[in-house]
């Protein structure tokens, strides 16, 4: 295996990175503080990064607080994920015109600038890869997603400050970025604030060479490895992922579904913050004269009653069945449908659940009764 090129940049080098991407006609997106949260938005400058901020997360709780250092990426993840840029919450798919009995359908073209993401976590790289599998790698390719995804420039940032709801070590999706990036940064705060940069693609190397950098030495590599290792030790949550597919398939009538349904508000927050949830629905609208029509695609959630609507009613009318659908899909039937788990261990669904439902706790509770059952025999 060829040695991965690793170099070191100073914190100020991030500004050059942003500018290098802007110069290459990317729409640069990254973390910034807004309305009490670290969100992903357009960056004009590295000064907009959440410098010196961190997030405190627990089931149903999210709060920003100041750090004692000037870390740029000293937080876990916020309510946003990159899917809002790759699979936007609302897009028009096509417009149609009808004149004298003929109908013309005009597909929407995507002429937007290519996207550059700065600050993509290891779990989020996996999240993007999970959505790629669904939207690009099946029999059919999603045209709009493909257009946004294919040239997206990804700057990953390894975690050193995981949140209280993180469990990427359990899902095998972090805390270190392993693939799917152009550049990967590790923030080092051992007295000298600096970033170790690993190159993941040719164009990543090309961008890195446009910045001021020096070759990484052994001290840098050791410090970076220690930061990531520290993150692995600080996971807020743990989950036994052994055969979750089988566990859930065997327990579709488990009493825990009733219990969790008594707490679940079926608000759908977990599906909106989840980086892999991909459900969408379409709305067909037409003008009153019947000349113009269009199709709009919107994020949908399996927590809505209409999600499973069949003429006459919903297939999943009860909150119990809708919660079960979400959890069994994410951790179980996703394997059947797409050959992998739908969960990346980012913990967003736990943090942003208004009643603090914790998927790791739910799955553990279901597994616990099976283990009790085994001991009895």
């Amino acid at each position: 295996m060829p040695e991965v090129e690793t170099r070191v940049i100073e914190p100020d080098g991030l500004e050059l990175l942003v500018q290098a991407l802007v110069d290459r006609k990317f729409r640069v997106l990254g973390p910034t503080v807004r309305e009490g949260a670290i969100v992903y938005d357009e960056l004009d400058s590295a000064a907009e990064l959440p410098i010196g901020w961190t997030d405190e997360q627990a089931p149903g709780k999210y709060r920003l607080s100041r750090r004692e250092d000037e870390a740029r990426f000293g937080y876990a993840v916020g309510p946003h994920s990159w899917k809002q840029f790759l699979l936007p919450p609302k897009i028009r798919l096509w417009r149609a015109r009808r004149d004298n009995g003929s109908v013309e359908v005009i597909e929407e073209s995507n002429d937007d600038k290519p996207l550059a993401f700065i600050g993509v976590r290891a779990c989020e790289l996996h999240g993007i890869s999970v959505q790629d599998r669904v939207l690009l790698e099946g029999r059919y390719v999603d045209r709009d997603y493909e257009a946004r995804r294919k040239d997206a420039f990804v700057v990953a940032v390894n975690c050193f400050e995981p949140g209280g709801t993180c469990f990427c070590v359990s899902t095998g999706t972090g805390p270190k970025a392993d693939a799917g990036y152009d550049l990967a940064l590790t923030e080092i705060l051992d007295g000298t604030h600096r970033f170790l940069v690993e190159v993941g693609s040719e164009r990543g190397g090309e961008v890195l060479h446009a910045l001021e950098s020096r070759p990484a030495d052994e001290t840098d590599r050791t410090a970076a490895a220690a930061a990531v290792e520290g993150a692995a030790q600080k996971m807020g949550r743990e989950l036994d992922t052994t055969d979750l597919r089988g566990l859930l398939a065997r327990n579709l009538e488990h009493e825990r579904w009733d219990e969790v349904a008594s707490r679940c508000l079926t608000c759908g927050n977990c599906t909106l913050v989840c980086p892999t949830c991909f459900c969408t629905s379409v709305e067909d609208v037409g003008d009153l004269a019947g000349h113009e029509a269009e199709r709009v695609r919107l994020w949908d959630s399996c927590y809505s009653v209409d999600h499973s609507y069949l003429h006459g009613g919903s297939v999943r009318p009860s909150p119990r069945s809708r919660y079960r659908q979400w959890l069994t899909h994410k951790f179980g039937t996703w394997h059947d449908q797409f050959g992998e788990s739908g969960c990346i261990g980012c913990g967003r669904c736990i943090t942003w659940c208004p009643v603090g439902i914790d998927v790791t706790e739910e799955l553990t509770a279901i597994r616990a009764t099976e283990e009790v059952g085994r001991e009895d025999h």
């Binding site: 029999r139 059919y140 995804r149 629905s281 449908q337």
Partner: protein, 280 residues
């Protein structure tokens, strides 16, 4: 970053304009439309597959193909909601949008050499008709073939003239029953599973295709199992909220499967665990 991409099959996202060539009334709420592509390029639709049918500005619904696989695109539509009503109202010459075809097909070829029992309930006959056309085209490849069809009342029966023609062939058992009838109906009154009890087929060498309301399919499959047909030889067509047709929108999930991708035709032994879990 770049990802390896596959070619996109035609007509996946934007509806292709199709013109209504003929429109025939089947019952008080059901119509059969024969459609032809405005741009001249037809579709190759297999028995069991469906397309997404779009009514301009109103909406889009999944409709099973009900025609001859060697013929034009034919759909038989029951007006149960705003979109299906608009489709049924489409007059000769009107333009509808079509995406697809999507989904898998009836295992007609695999059934050759044995008996075939086709069980239809209500508007379940149209999705089975393409399979019947294929079977009848190569009738000698099969032994006994039965069509068992149930509907609510005699007025709800579709394809009536064709049923008479099939009955007259002599090489196809056609049994029709209704849930209730008034005169002049002189046919059977009772449920479809009862037809299965009386039909002529060798259970050990039979392939069964069932389409109808989910409960009717459950009872019919049970009647077939009671007669000794192996569960792996029973196939049914399922319906959920199919929207995108291409496995991207998540609406038509049935447990570990996506109906638009892995269905709509399912083998009974695969389907049973999914049907018995409530609200799956």
């Amino acid at each position: 970053m770049a990802t390896a991409l596959q070619a996109e099959p035609r007509a996946a996202e934007a509806p292709q304009p199709f013109r209504v060539r003929t429109r025939r009334r089947e019952t008080h709420d059901t119509w059969t439309l024969r459609l032809e592509p405005v741009d001249g390029v037809g579709l190759d639709v297999r028995p069991g597959q469906f397309t997404m049918v779009y009514s301009f500005g109103v909406g889009e619904v999944p409709i099973s193909f009900s025609g001859d696989p060697r013929g034009p695109l034919v759909h038989t539509v029951r007006a149960v909601g705003a979109v299906t009503r608009a489709i049924c109202d489409a007059r000769r010459g009107a333009v509808l949008g079509i995406r697809g075809p999507f989904g898998n097909e009836w295992p007609v070829a695999e059934a050759a050499g044995g008996d075939v029992v086709v069980v239809a309930g209500g508007i379940g006959l149209p999705p089975l008709r393409p399979a019947l056309y294929e079977i009848l085209r190569r009738r000698r490849d099969f032994r006994d073939v039965a069509l068992l069809y149930g509907a609510r009342t005699p007025d709800d029966l579709v394809f009536r003239r064709e049923l008479e023609r099939w009955r007259a062939r002599g090489d196809l058992q056609v049994e029709v029953t209704v849930d209730a009838a008034v005169e002049p109906w002189r046919g059977k009154v009772g449920v479809v599973p009862k037809l299965i009890e009386g039909a002529r087929f060798d259970p050990a060498a039979t392939t069964a295709f069932i389409v109808g309301p989910e409960i009717m399919m459950r009872f019919s499959a049970q009647a077939l199992l009671d007669r000794g047909v192996p569960p792996s030889c029973i196939f049914v067509s399922m319906e959920r909220n199919m929207q995108c047709g291409v496995g991207h929108c998540g609406h038509c999930q049935l447990g570990p499967t996506l109906i638009c991708r892995d269905g709509p035709v399912y083998r009974w032994d695969v389907l049973v665990p999914l049907l018995t879990a409530r609200e799956l």
